[in-house]
Subunit: 428 residues, 2 copies
């Protein structure tokens, strides 16, 4: 399968615009990027005229719980622990694998509308999430979410089976060792997982210091150690990885992030809605630490919208640092493209270059919010939205175009099915 | 002209959903809302099947400078005063009336994509802004922006001519007395304007306490008086009105807002991007003060996106008050619908009821971000975006539908023209 995007402006790896290019995709890779030339149009299975619009690398959603779409707007505006105990946990306990499959698919569709071509998805039932992602053709890294309250399903099995699985559309599904959080795990589980990360020299990801309460309670339990310091103590960070949220973090934690070359995955939408706080992203950045961005689950956000997260990531740092120059668009794009691709373990999906994976998005600038044509990258971070996403391609396949989905399931069937499954779940 | 919206879920004035209704528009008013009945379809000029989607009152953008689209993403991430002096003021000084006409039209288009049916627009060249709005069919209140540095054009003339103008599509353009700000005006001008607000018993709006610098400098100039207290001293608030931004405000100012029944128009997107701060909206609300929401100009925001502003208004209060229950969706919707309609002086455009002005928006929930169908109003505030705006009607006329504009100008011509005008402006 070969697809030619013609008359495109291409965002390159240095976040500069290459004007009037053809970008040619063969199977799941970018074959070439060259000056526009209409003479060989007939050589391709499909030719897409970009009409002077912009091709950008796919955006990576580095922390999500896609299946949590079912809790979106079911209940909001409650104190965190009331909300978790009254709405989240009891309903999540009722989830079947069928529920998780369809809710994950709906979450993937929402990612696609936001120009997201890959995510790090942390939820229950790893094989089900892997299956839904694989069938939709969506790039994903399944981060495990082990807690001491569930029966722990051997993470080594996931690691072997998922990471070594080679489907006909390439290795689009990966697996990463992870714990749900410090407060949901005991010493025994942390030691067990540390043995595995050492055995495989593997990365480790975890919810880390999302709330002040979590941070303070951890220090009480562990003789003054913060969550980051607990994970470090058990050697979980010895081969890298990172933390989700990191809203409440001390300077020693920052040193551990530097030493272990960890990635901080910030989820600003969820953090402000749940009143968890605003992390010190600028301080991390200034310390040379890699930042990626995620939406968190749509239960707390309540949308999977990486444009909103990009805008929030920069503007919240500007206002909390009292500095309008904090976090410019290039820094933000690096977070969601380059750092995101590294974080989710699909490193070849980081930029639009010859030989790279064909994960890309066509941005339509012929809408009022992207006019007049001043800086494209400033518009992309400060003004762009889902209405500008004309096409999303993952691994060489167009999964979303002009508002329609080209995944394994019909979109209207997914809406109907998800509403039925939710109705049944709430009534059982 | 009669239009029947059938099979609609209608958001009523109490922010509850009336299911399966027909909403019938005759000329520029809502004639009736009744249970769905297909038997009289042939009686209308047009029948629109809403397919179980949602009709909501038009959103009001209570503070904007629409024409500032031309500065969008021209330069960002600079300290405020550098940005104003280097990019805003010199380029604004070069604007012609033709520039302002087309840039305002582009801004109006962007408002329409966001479900905005009316705005309070503060800029130069009041008649030009009025003309662009009138020709597009867009509801507007022109708030004057007098400064001591410009030749003051008699505001009484605007008041008389604009407010008493009755076009063939009703009185969709209004005018309000206003100053640019305290720091751009002297005593003489404030006295002159106060005489006029007293003569007409008219409201007064102004940029008020946007930055800490503005607030502190004002107190130095006026023996400790804040901007709010200066306006009060000159009687400018004697007949009501309000302030834009109000980020830095003291408790005595809050008392003045209560006493004069003023509206605080918050512009959270602009405030965070410029690092101006986060206003104490919850404190104002708890004091019984009316809040409305605006985008501010697209130079500092950089989008006209009221969904983003609604999300920011509530989430920024949650995080700064450390309270996830702060500002629920009904409170936010009241701000952009009821308070917005009052603020912009088109009070009959506040809700969907028989006899009210036909300013409405059709929200398409058959997109992933609005599924499954849990609370519609929670989705509207926390998850909805421009991609869900299927149709925007102002004063009984459909100005935007399925991504196309039905205003006086062709959309592609506007993009082309605005880019040409900008190019010429930057090069002269």
């Amino acid at each position: 399968m070969s697809i030619k995007f013609k008359n495109a402006n291409v965002l390159n790896k240095d976040f500069e615009i290459l004007k009037s290019k053809d970008l040619i995709v063969e199977n799941n890779r970018i074959k070439t990027i060259r000056p526009t030339d209409a003479s060989d149009d007939s050589n391709y299975d499909r030719v897409i005229d970009c009409n002077d619009n912009y091709l950008i690398p796919g955006i990576k959603n580095s922390h999500t719980h896609n299946a949590m779409v079912f809790l979106r707007s079911l209940s909001d505006d409650l104190p965190l622990h009331d909300w978790l105990k009254t709405y989240c946990f009891p309903n999540e306990a009722k989830l079947t694998d069928e529920d998780i499959y369809y809710f994950t698919t709906l979450g993937i569709m929402e990612n696609l509308t936001s120009g997201v071509t890959g995510s790090m998805d942390m939820y229950k039932s790893n094989y089900t999430v892997a299956e839904a992602s694989y069938k939709a053709g969506f790039r994903v890294n399944i981060c495990d979410s082990i807690t001491q309250f569930d029966k722990v399903i051997a993470p080594e099995e996931f690691y072997d089976k998922i990471n070594n699985y080679k489907g006909d559309n390439g290795n689009i599904v990966k697996y990463t060792f992870g714990l749900h959080a410090e407060y949901t795990n005991n010493e025994e589980i942390m030691k067990m997982l540390s043995e595995l990360t050492h055995k495989y020299k593997a990365e480790f990801y975890v919810h880390n210091s999302e709330t002040k309460f979590e941070f303070d309670e951890c220090k009480k339990r562990w003789d003054g150690l913060t969550p980051t310091q607990v994970f470090e103590k058990f050697g979980l960070y010895d081969f890298g990885g990172g933390g989700y949220h990191c809203v409440h973090i001390d300077d020693n934690d920052i040193e551990i992030f530097k030493k272990r070359n960890l990635t901080l995955v910030t989820c600003p939408g969820s953090n402000v809605k749940l009143a968890s706080g605003i992390p010190r992203i600028k301080k991390f950045l200034d310390s040379g630490i890699k930042i990626a961005i995620g939406t968190d689950g749509p239960a707390s956000n309540n949308a999977i919208d990486m444009f909103r997260e990009m805008y929030l990531t920069t503007t919240l740092q500007k206002v909390t640092n009292n500095d309008p120059s904090a976090l410019n668009p290039k820094e933000i794009l690096k977070m969601v493209m380059v750092n995101g691709a590294n974080c989710i373990g699909h490193k070849d999906a980081d930029s639009l270059e010859e030989g790279k994976l064909a994960d890309l998005v066509l941005i339509d600038v012929n809408k009022p919010n992207m006019q007049p044509r001043n800086s494209f990258i400033n518009n992309l971070v400060y003004a762009c939205g889902k209405q500008n996403v004309k096409l999303t391609m993952v691994d060489g396949k167009i999964l979303y175009e002009d508002g329609k989905f080209f995944i394994n399931e019909d979109e209207n069937y997914i809406y109907k099915k998800c509403n039925e499954l939710l109705h049944n779940l709430l009534n059982r």
